[in-house]
């Protein structure tokens, strides 16, 4: 994609998608980001006007849990239709002949997302309580999308909603562990705890399932958008509340809601916008689940490196996070 011929193909495809003949690619540069998704900064001059965009595609052989670009396209549109602040998707290309893989082009958001940078930056997000309350409100809007709602009509790829998402997730993590050649007794301890306490959900909702610090962008004006919709699925609303407040996603900072502000601020925004009451015990349950799920993902990411599929220092080091996650799980489930 990054060579002369690749850029020419991309420009031609964009011209056709945008319904114009006047397209110039001024910049196409890989953005720093995760090891699995590829985000490219794409600056265009289209019909004489500058456009700051992101081209989003997937590294070869993604984590199997994540959605296709076409699915992500539908999720972004659905979220925006209920008032969620998310990047505006412009064009979707499912033809691998253009860049080698499917891709999605969306408007680029201002600000920064990187967890460590956000938490330590004193100028961005100076009113963290307001930011976290806003994130609670945004999450409530995402959860407005239920399987029978109008906004869910284009989301058939999510499958049928389970009323037992906790049990289903425990089963799926156990199934993953069974496919490996090694054993993880501490993780199994956490999964047993989760299995014994799993409750059905009264109401499955669209859960973002990676709603955390690191996946929303902030500039000096506040929240600019929520990113990384590739793991979305039907679940209990407390799954997202638990993921956001999980200790493993606070980037080492003390505030319990995303490492940024208090739970009260987060729950307050969520409750006011959703009309639901947050069940703190259920949040704790899903925080334990968050650690178990993230632990399974770290094992999976390490395996991508170890198998040779995607040699990467970042993936390799991710595999050494599992130990701390297991310690956290034990601390939360002991006795």
């Amino acid at each position: 994609m990054d060579d002369v011929a690749g850029r020419a193909r991309l420009a031609a495809w964009i011209a056709q998608a945008a319904g114009t003949t006047s397209v110039a690619i001024d910049r196409l540069e890989r953005m720093s980001g995760g090891a699995v998704q590829e985000n490219w900064a794409l600056d265009l001059t289209l019909d004489g006007a500058p456009l700051a965009l992101v081209l989003r595609t997937t590294a070869p052989g993604a984590v199997t849990e994540s959605r296709t670009r076409a699915d992500e396209w539908a999720l972004l549109r659905a979220a925006r239709s209920v008032g969620v602040s998310a990047p505006e998707p412009l064009w979707l290309c499912t033809d691998p002949a253009i860049t080698g893989r499917a891709f999605l082009v969306m408007r680029r958001l201002a600000g920064i997302a990187a967890g460590h940078r956000l938490i330590r930056n004193p100028f961005i997000a100076d009113d963290r309580t307001a930011l976290v309350a806003e994130l609670g409100r945004q999450l409530a809007r995402i959860h407005r999308i239920t399987p029978d709602s109008h906004a869910a009509a284009p989301l058939g790829f999510l499958g049928k909603a389970s009323f037992e998402p906790a049990s289903a997730l425990v089963r799926s993590i156990r199934h993953y562990l069974d496919g490996r050649g090694d054993a993880h007794p501490a993780l199994e301890w956490g999964l047993r705890w989760l299995d014994q306490r799993a409750r059905p959900t009264a109401e499955p909702v669209l859960a973002h399932r990676d709603f955390r610090t690191g996946n929303y962008m902030v500039d000096e004006t506040g929240l600019t958008g929520i990113l990384d919709w590739e793991f979305a699925g039907w679940s209990d609303p407390h799954e997202d509340l638990g993921w956001f407040c999980a200790k493993c996603w606070r980037f080492g900072a003390a505030p319990e809601a995303g490492g940024m502000a208090s739970r009260a601020a987060f729950y307050g925004g969520y409750e006011a916008e959703s009309g639901r009451v947050v069940d703190p015990e259920l949040v704790t349950y899903w925080e334990v689940m968050a650690h178990a799920r993230w632990a399974a993902i770290t094992l999976q990411q390490a395996e991508r490196h170890l198998s040779g599929a995607q040699p990467s220092l970042e993936l390799a080091l991710t595999g050494r996070i599992t130990d701390a996650l297991e310690l956290d799980i034990l601390a939360m489930t002991g006795g």
């Binding site: 720093s32 156990r174 562990l177 090694d182 054993a183 993880h184 007794p185 501490a186 199994e188 301890w189 999964l191 047993r192 014994q196 200790k247 080492g252 220092l313 970042e314 390799a316 080091l317 050494r320 996070i321 130990d323 701390a324 297991e326 310690l327 956290d328 034990l330 601390a331 002991g334 006795g335």
Partner: protein
């Protein structure tokens, strides 16, 4: 028997040199790679230093739990460990330790000590976060 500087010592000075001499000279978009390399070197150094003692303790606890004898041949420890960890994982999943409070405590203490030893190698800063004895 090891030549000096040994593996752990080489890794330590390599890491120090990376941090002091290379990292300041790296362009901004490569600093993260530099920090990751420093982290990998630190983990490797701690693992070389601490791994076999820690593994011995895990093996001894599992042998005691499952009433087995620790092998006299050091080469047999790793396969025994793999076998007993797999057995422990299966037993936990099957709920075999749910009923007996004393046995449950023993298993938990084993898992806890094992996790602490491993985190001491992979990310010792994370140990500072865990309040001692807070298991609620």
């Amino acid at each position: 028997m090891a030549q000096r500087p040994d593996a752990a010592e080489l890794l330590a000075i390599a890491r120090q040199t990376l941090l002091e001499r290379l990292l300041p000279a790296l362009p901004a978009d490569q600093k993260f790679d530099g920090l990751m390399i420093a982290n990998a070197l630190a983990i490797a150094g701690r693992e070389i230093r601490d791994q076999s003692a820690s593994q011995g303790r895990v093996a001894a606890r599992l042998a005691a739990l499952y009433d087995e004898v620790m092998p006299s041949d050091a080469a047999e420890i790793a396969p025994m460990l793999a076998r007993l960890e797999a057995r422990l994982a299966r037993d936990i999943r099957a709920g075999r330790f749910d009923g007996d409070a004393a046995l449950r405590r023993t298993v938990f203490e084993h898992l806890w000590a094992t996790a602490q030893d491993r985190v001491a190698i992979s990310n010792p800063k994370a140990l500072a976060d865990e309040p001692a004895g807070d298991r609620s």
